[in-house]
């Protein structure tokens, strides 16, 4: 805040104890949720495969869930009377639109955080990890992600991880699905012994070699 600075506020707002911050944890299951701890709400996704829509103002590929989102917003509205400390979603529908429903603050990402979800299915899916030891400039990382999502956004099923960003005290948690990026979160401290940036990718039709090449090429154009 321009007029109200704090040593606890960094480039991405208040440094958080963990990536979830204060948000309500969400678990997505494709089987029965089983026994629930007190305060956990269960949402059974019976809305069917047609319950999808593009995120308003977004590209057609960035679909989110419609009626499911309304149910989750109703849970928030009822919190004063029925406080939830967690949410479980039982579903047999496609996972991508559900995950995208939580991917940005504009959707429900300001209040909910997906802690646990099944792996994204698909025969041709690539899963790999990109690591980088030296601190990265935030500008370089943004250029890299902008280039990647411009070229292969619909095939970037998921990217998440921790970055060592120049100028940040703690690691910066990042997450991206297709063209949608969640708000970055700076954590208060690195896990003991760790300092390297580490990004996990789930992609369709492109692999670690091409992502690494793009990462190095974009970085070479910028300092840091």
């Amino acid at each position: 805040m321009r007029h109200f600075p704090s040593p606890d506020i960094g480039m991405f707002g208040r440094r958080q104890r963990h990536a979830r911050a204060h948000r309500i944890p969400v678990r997505i299951v494709t089987r029965s949720a089983g026994a629930l701890s007190p305060g956990t709400a269960i949402v059974i996704d019976r809305f069917g495969a047609d319950d999808v829509m593009p995120l308003p103002g977004s590209c057609p590929c960035c679909t989110v869930r419609d009626k499911l989102q309304i149910v989750l917003r109703e849970l928030l509205a009822e919190r004063a009377n029925q406080h939830q400390t967690g949410v479980v979603i039982e579903t047999n529908n496609e996972l991508g639109p559900i995950l995208r429903t939580f991917a940005t603050e504009r959707a429900l990402g300001a209040e909910f955080y997906v802690e646990d979800a099944p792996d994204l299915p698909g025969a041709d899916v690539h899963q790999f990890v990109l690591t980088h030891d030296a601190p990265l400039s935030w500008d370089a990382f943004c250029r890299f992600m902008t280039t990647l999502t411009a070229l292969r956004g619909p095939d970037l099923l998921l990217m998440k991880g921790l970055l060592n960003v120049v100028g940040c005290r703690g690691p910066v948690g990042v997450q991206c699905m297709g063209h949608l990026a969640a708000r970055p979160v700076e954590l208060q401290a690195w896990p003991a012994g760790e300092r390297a940036s580490r990004l996990e990718f789930v992609t369709r039709g492109f692999d670690a070699v091409s992502v690494r090449a793009m990462f190095d090429a974009v970085r070479a154009l910028l300092p840091g």
Binding site: M1, F4, P5, S6, D8, Q16, H22, G39
Partner: protein
């Protein structure tokens, strides 16, 4: 109202304090010479004076000592610890009753608190000391009556007083300040009072916070007169620099002024003092304090009125963690943690001070025999480890929690 809420706080332990769990607004940590971490707690009313609890292991709190008040009409309510010295406030129910004042104890042997000095603040029109602030080992800042302080209205009986306790066995008053017009003999006109009966609570001092970042300032809650920032660079002659008063249209009982120095903000609390929220709204306010002579309210912390207001007992703001300037106190200028009676304990992220956001809630179920049928969380203190201690006003005792946000 839900039975119990535990959101982003984790309850580590609960101690009913041997059945004497009606606690006031004095909570302070001592690191004893043998390394034990002991929290000293003031009781809200007789028969108990204060209780010390060993919280070295916050999951296994153990009572160290619990003491008695000499009179049933007394209440200690407030205390502070610096090193091995503890100051305890004594207030009586009626003006003229004794003993009223404050007492200093040597607590170097925590099991055996030893009185060093008693400072008499009784008087024909005095009830004694309601609250005190003692953080530097040198001065006690307090809300107190005095034999030579007589007001037009009995409700205005406690003013801001400063005591030099550098010689702990012989404390001496070095300054005082009161709302002009309240004292008999003042040249100023008497101030306009709030509406009787339940909204006229008095124009008197409550919290008297002084911090080493600005040792020349007292941040003073003054109940129905709002808040003041006092220049105390000359302790003998405190001078008001500003007054901010939200009432009317609000309902007074301004309680605490917490300055966030690095952020140029004040956090100001009202106290809910009437059951069933009949004095609602009682709020935590965020003030832009870039100009300390002209604080501007910019937000309040949201509270769930509909769910709690009529659940039983009080509902609304009261105490907050005050960033007590001691090594055993947690310091934060982005998180505000407060107690809201039946609304429990709530944490707010004010990193954007225009939009406080609730990030944690703890509302324990009603303790057995709770007179209002609900919890009435009264005060909170957070130690430098981030362990949160909160107490019930009536019977529930001490709750110890971890933050998880």
């Amino acid at each position: 109202m839900p039975d119990q809420i535990e959101w982003n706080f984790k309850l580590l332990a609960h101690h009913a304090l041997e059945g004497f769990g009606g606690m006031g607004e004095g909570m302070s940590i001592q690191i004893a010479k043998d390394g034990r971490r002991i929290i000293w707690l003031a009781h809200e009313s007789a028969p108990k004076n204060f209780t010390a609890v060993d919280v070295s292991d916050p999951r296994k709190p153990k009572i160290v000592v619990q003491t008695e008040l000499p009179q049933a009409y007394m209440r200690s309510n407030s205390l502070e610890v610096v090193g091995d010295i503890m100051a305890v406030a004594y207030q009586c129910q009626q003006p003229g009753q004794k003993p009223a004042g404050f007492e200093l104890f040597d607590i170097s042997v925590p099991e055996q608190p030893r009185s060093i000095a008693f400072v008499d603040r009784s008087g024909e029109k005095s009830r004694g000391v309601h609250q005190l602030w003692f953080c530097d080992g040198e001065y006690v800042h307090m809300a107190s009556g005095a034999a030579d302080f007589v007001t037009h209205n009995q409700l205005d009986d406690q003013c801001y007083q400063i005591f030099d306790v550098r010689n702990a066995s012989a404390p001496k008053e070095v300054g005082r300040w009161w709302m002009p017009g309240t004292r008999v003999g003042d040249a100023e006109p008497q101030p306009t009072r709030h509406k009787s009966p339940i909204l006229d609570m008095g124009m008197r001092a409550h919290n008297t916070n002084v911090y080493p970042q600005r040792p020349d300032r007292c941040y003073l809650g003054y109940i129905d007169a709002g808040m003041f920032v006092l220049d105390i660079s000359d302790k003998a002659h405190p001078k008001p620099l500003c007054r901010w008063d939200n009432s009317p249209p609000y309902h007074g009982f301004t309680h605490t002024v917490l300055p966030l120095f690095t952020r140029n903000l004040f956090v100001v609390t009202d106290e809910s003092v009437v059951d069933d929220a009949d004095d609602w709204p009682k709020l935590v306010w965020i003030l832009d304090a870039r100009d300390e002579t002209n604080p501007v309210p910019i937000a309040t912390c949201p509270l769930p009125y509909d769910a709690f207001a009529h659940a039983g007992g009080r509902f609304g703001a009261h105490n907050i963690h005050e960033n007590v300037p001691l090594p055993t106190s947690w310091q934060s200028d982005t998180i505000i943690i407060g107690t809201f009676f039946n609304g429990g304990l709530r944490a707010y992220d004010i990193s954007n001070p225009y939009q406080p956001r609730e990030v944690g809630t703890f509302v324990p179920k009603a303790p057995p025999l709770a007179p209002r049928g609900t919890i009435q969380l009264n005060d909170v203190f957070v130690d430098e480890r981030g362990i949160v201690y909160t107490v019930d006003r009536h019977i529930g005792g001490l709750y110890i929690l971890e933050m998880d946000f």
